[in-house]
């Protein structure tokens, strides 16, 4: 099994390191061809405007969108969540538009409002995990097929819809591997289904 991390801008190496620590193969995805060899893709944190632009510019947007619609497991953290969302409350730009969620960018404010909290995310792990929010978005509305994984103060900050996972926070910035394990499981199950 091979996991791809979209490597256009942002926190790429942190995801690669977590995946490698779980002894799975991974590659950086920089071109559309790279999509052919992967069994799951992580869309990292960074700036969604930058990544969205480069996705279009390099012709990766449509092939990636098709792959995800055809079942490729995809996980967006922070900016990656914005790339996945069908609707963005406070931005005219849209990107992959595959996941049935409406998100709000920089929903908590500026960097001064970034925060860390420690929580048990029951659907993902029995352990308490540090949840790191950096100029984070959150989900304001979820569609019918979307399973809410975690909420903080009534705001949805993690959700799953079939092969798609979205988190407002950055598990790759903490030492916990729990979310990465969860995503690898999604990829393994999908592979089993295909065989």
């Amino acid at each position: 099994m091979k996991i791809g991390v979209l490597s256009l801008q942002g926190g790429v190496i942190e995801h690669l390191n977590h995946i490698r620590n779980l002894e799975a193969d991974c590659i950086e995805v920089k071109e559309a061809e790279d999509l052919d060899e992967i069994n799951g893709i992580i869309l990292p944190g960074g700036e969604s405007t930058t990544m969205g632009l480069l996705l279009k510019e390099r012709g990766i947007l449509n092939p990636l969108k098709q792959k995800i619609l055809n079942g490729l497991p995809a996980w967006g953290t922070c900016a990656g969540m914005i790339l996945l969302a069908k609707e963005i409350e406070n931005d005219f730009r849209k990107h992959l538009e595959v996941m049935n969620i409406k998100v709000k960018r920089n929903a908590y404010g500026s960097q001064l409002d970034s925060f860390i909290c420690h929580s048990k995310v029951e659907k993902v792990s029995k352990e308490e995990i540090p949840l790191i929010f950096i100029r984070a978005p959150y989900i304001v509305e979820v569609g019918n097929d979307v399973d809410v994984i975690f909420e903080i103060d009534g705001k949805v900050v993690a959700a799953r819809e079939k092969n798609m996972l979205a988190t407002s926070f950055h598990p790759e910035l903490s030492t916990s591997l729990e979310f990465h394990k969860y995503f690898l499981n999604m990829c393994t199950e999908n592979l089993k289904k295909l065989n």
Binding site: G46, T50, L54, I134, R135
Partner: protein, 289 residues
Amino acid sequence: MERYQLNKDLAKMLKGGVIMDVTNPKEAEIAEKAGACAVMALERVPADIRKQGGIARMSDPKMIKEIKSAVSIPVMAKVRIGHFVEAQILEAIGIDYIDESEVLTPADEMYHINKWDFKIPFVCGARNLGEALRRIGEGAAMIRTKGEAGTGNVVEAVRHMRCMMDEIRKIKNSPKEELMTIAKEISAPYDLVEYVWKEGKLPVVNFAAGGIATPADAALMMQLGAEGVFVGSGIFKSQNPEKRASAIVLATTYYNDPKVIAEVSEDLGEAMYGIDINQLDNKLSERGW
């Protein structure tokens, strides 16, 4: 320490990106549209500061706020070296990052700002590893090379990045008993020297800045080990800012792919007018210590 971690983490999210100097909301929008991962709000780009002379200070908070409301990406702004009240002002208006910058006229020739006093993150310039570790010791959450701002000449940024990388390699390969002597020689805190020895890198993200004017310059700095680039005068002092800005963004992401760099370098119009470092009577990189 949690706050410092968050501030270092924001810098990680800027990696692989281009931070562009902008002087008004219109330029900020152009930068965002071209794919900048953040903008630096300032009244005059370094090339103009150099030409016009006088004292360069923190920009008008009103102008910074206008830029902040024009874009969705992080906004940075500069304060003078040692001017902690300018920093208090920028923290009060809630921008995302402060650059304690040698491009502005220093307010203090002895002391930099004690950045631990602030909740807001700081990026600082450095010419070598010792200088970088001193700034980190004072609480900087991100480092950039000083280069020589406003010249369109990349030679100083190259010198600074090579120097930092070379010193990091040397420390990494030294036996542990030599670390205290190294710390003394480069005037850096021991614990940070020890971190570099263990990890083989700076404890914070390291960008290139100062003199970057072309897509090739940006890719050069990335290949030398920068984790992203700042472009100051290079964009809005060139003939076609929109096109050059987006070309530099692509070259920074595809810095290892000469075909892409060649493609984006075509037909950009004239780059900013450059200055030979030997003809300067005032080197901004020598401000701060």
